[in-house]
Symmetry: D2
Subunit: 263 residues, 4 copies
């Protein structure tokens, strides 16, 4: 049995510090074998830098997924070419920097991770994620049945459809992007674990990781503003799925949601 | 102390039958004093009819809220004028049929319910929900501090901003519309209960209450189709908030998510 | 030299009657060799029927293009399989009914027509129109350099980008969908004729072919309504491009905008 | 009779230089009494600066309107408070910097200018432009019947609806924002001049004023990029409306579209 921890969008310095502090605990004390995090907001809420990716990987993260904010930091387009453990959505047109999937060897066998982005209410409009994910899953299954999918998407309908679409072909489909964890964890009829959104690793007293007041003001006055990342404490949100390494089926799924105080 | 049950979007016949069967149980056996449901998808997934509203009210529902699907059934525009317990979003321009709020007398004092609709990624584009809600809350608080808000909205950011905006002025802000329950129930710093989305009262094996296969097909081929409501069993999703009737503050908040089999 | 008339979205009965009456005049008296019309709103503003398509073809129309309204009439999905002169956007995923392009023999040589749909602010979200158009143009150019493209799209930026993208590879790119003719007719640097939107063949005193009052009311009250097609007279809008049959280059481009009174 | 020149969105340095050079010619040689320009893209394509506004006003521009790009330059929020001839859309919530309308005394009487922004496919979502415009027009008509409206909006339907809505109450409604001039200039039944989009004062060989290649690349690869303003020559697009100063009715309307070479 493989225990995989998947953490939702990391927001800003508090979010990444909390992740870096807690990931070793999950690996050493809580029986987790493999850690995936979505890092698209780890650099002050906008994208990810090489330094941050390195820090996350050194802390024990195996794979970093992203989403619509993947290119927010200019250096990412070149850095991603050098670091295959940093993914961008698979459904970019051919020729985009980096990769949308990876398969890593572990002590418990090969584990694949696939990153895909939805299109409803999202920018930019990428290629259709359904055939793109299907083709890549077929390819990955030649090597391993243990595959975790990060479906980065705004609407519940597109995420649930992806979960049902890949049910039985991957170990789990976890949504990201809304920064709020959903309470619908389940194992779908054909054995795929599912959670509509993993939630966020970021400041608890916030609006998607940012100070709420400027966001409220923006909704009120429609004027531009600054939207700083909020402060500690952090809530670390994600999900642990236990997977049968022979079949790739999810055996159990459990939400993770824990408060982390500033050190 | 007042115990209020708020149930998310009811979808189709299975959803409303489950609600009608379970609401009396909540009222008689589980100490609930007041029941609010979002009924915007109760008529085959599209809107609500007079007959359905009457059935829900007769089962013990006190107030029915709605959202972007409120007018899907043509009869609603006239029926809503005769039934003040059926709400539409408050932030329609002046002159819209029906009302966006109501205050009801109960054995435990007056309880107000306010329905408001977000604008990000939503159609139609209504008036700004923030000042609309603020003004109505001010008015309602002249009569009672016990106020429950249904914020019908697509994005987590707009729902969280509304929760924070009204924190301390209403008893609870509950999101609806995404049909997936979130796991972020909390009492905000100034005493307002909050849940980003209450979830759905509809078929468990579904995509937002509808059969998944036609939805997946639609994402794949982009062609029109039929999207029938799925079958039993139903998951009944919502939240119970306990409110201090003197201050209107939320004392506790608890998610509800229970499976209901066909009778 | 080939003279090709391209007419914008036909709206409702007035629109199609005007087109049916005027097309023979263009063919017989005004030196036009080939007529293309966009018929996506010809059936009471929503889609097209077999009967209407037959009437248009019998009047002398060579090819009918469409857009986001192509499937509004249920019969279209089967009819389009029997009538190759009725096109739907090429960038539907594989397996969609019908075709997105056609090449027809004429007395002046082969003429190709390609229909493609933009994605910005459009539903459904089809495959990327740029590579889809590029591949199809390559294929068509094996048979003829005379190719007219209907780029059905909301934004000026996506239409202009398509024009520039195909400049030198097709005879003309004409936008449709906004129902308002633009005044930017030109021959691009490499010989492709361009007009950002051909405009509409529909009621002059209207909002996109429909009675203005219910549309205004909708913008004011955000309530559902009926939006009937407006009445005569019709303005018939389009463009005439003269093409060198040997090179496919546009030699001249001229907007068409004429009033047609009820017979 | 008053002759008013209205010029569409000025893009970048070429656009504003062309406007500054040509406005005096319109005023001195072509009988124009009053010049309005939309300046929302005059600062390198993004917003407007104090210096640019001053240069435009010194060249003879009477009023500068804007739109969704009004706040792109940070200094605008403070500068607009000092310069009433620089407008922002009227339908910002109360408290926004600056004003959405102005009435100026001229040798031919008072002339009012109103700036309003549509909501369909536009960010931010402002208050409903229809009642906002109606109320402001009522107020302005207490002083003068000569009123020109800049309706800054994406869709043809919202712009046409605004034209019909204000028909008979203002002298003209001119759309802006799409950067492509439409060919539908007309006088509406009750005397209001109308043009769905005035077009752009910016580089002719461009995509909305910017170099086409990076825009095409963006549509192809969905990756971020730089989108520099294109080079000379400029096409100066707008409209001249002749207004009866006593009734405010439009007597004639004529599109302006002229090429301006670099000096
Ligand atoms: Fe994110
Ligand atoms: Fe995201
Ligand atoms: Fe709903
Ligand atoms: Fe809804
Ligand atoms: Fe159309
Ligand atoms: Fe269309
Ligand atoms: Fe602009
Ligand atoms: Fe604009």
């Amino acid at each position: 049995m493989i225990r995989i921890l998947f953490l939702g969008d990391i927001v800003g310095e508090p979010g990444r510090k909390a992740v870096i502090r807690r990931v070793p605990v999950f690996l050493k004390e809580r029986g987790v074998d493999f850690v995936i995090v979505n890092g698209e907001n780890s650099a002050a809420g906008r994208g990810i830098t090489a330094k941050i990716a390195i820090d996350l990987l050194r802390a024990g993260v195996a794979v970093i997924t992203t989403g619509d904010h993947v290119w927010d930091q200019r250096e990412t387009a070149s850095y991603i070419e050098t670091e295959p453990r940093l993914l961008r959505p698979i459904n970019y047109p051919d020729g985009a920097p980096g990769n949308g999937s990876i398969i890593l060897d572990t002590a418990k066998g090969k584990i694949g991770v696939l990153n895909v982005q939805g299109r409803t209410f999202m920018q930019p409009i990428l290629d259709n994620p359904f055939p793109a994910a299907s083709i890549e899953v077929d390819r990955m299954r030649l090597e391993t049945p243990v595959i975790i999918v990060d479906m980065h998407s705004e609407t519940t309908s597109e995420k649930i459809a992806m979960g049902r679409f890949l049910d039985g072909r991957v170990s789990a489909v976890f949504g990201t992007h809304t920064h709020v964890q959903t309470a619908d964890e389940k194992i779908l009829p054909n054995g795929t674990g599912f959670l509509c959104d993993a939630g966020m690793c970021g400041p608890e007293h916030s609006c998607l990781g940012r100070e709420p007041e400027p966001i409220i003001k923006r909704f009120m006055d429609n004027l531009p503003g600054q939207f700083p990342v909020a402060k500690w404490p952090v809530r670390l949100c994600g999900v642990i799925v236990q997977v049968d390494p022979n079949t790739g089926r999810a055996l159990s799924i459990e939400r993770v949601s824990e408060m982390v105080e500033e050190a």
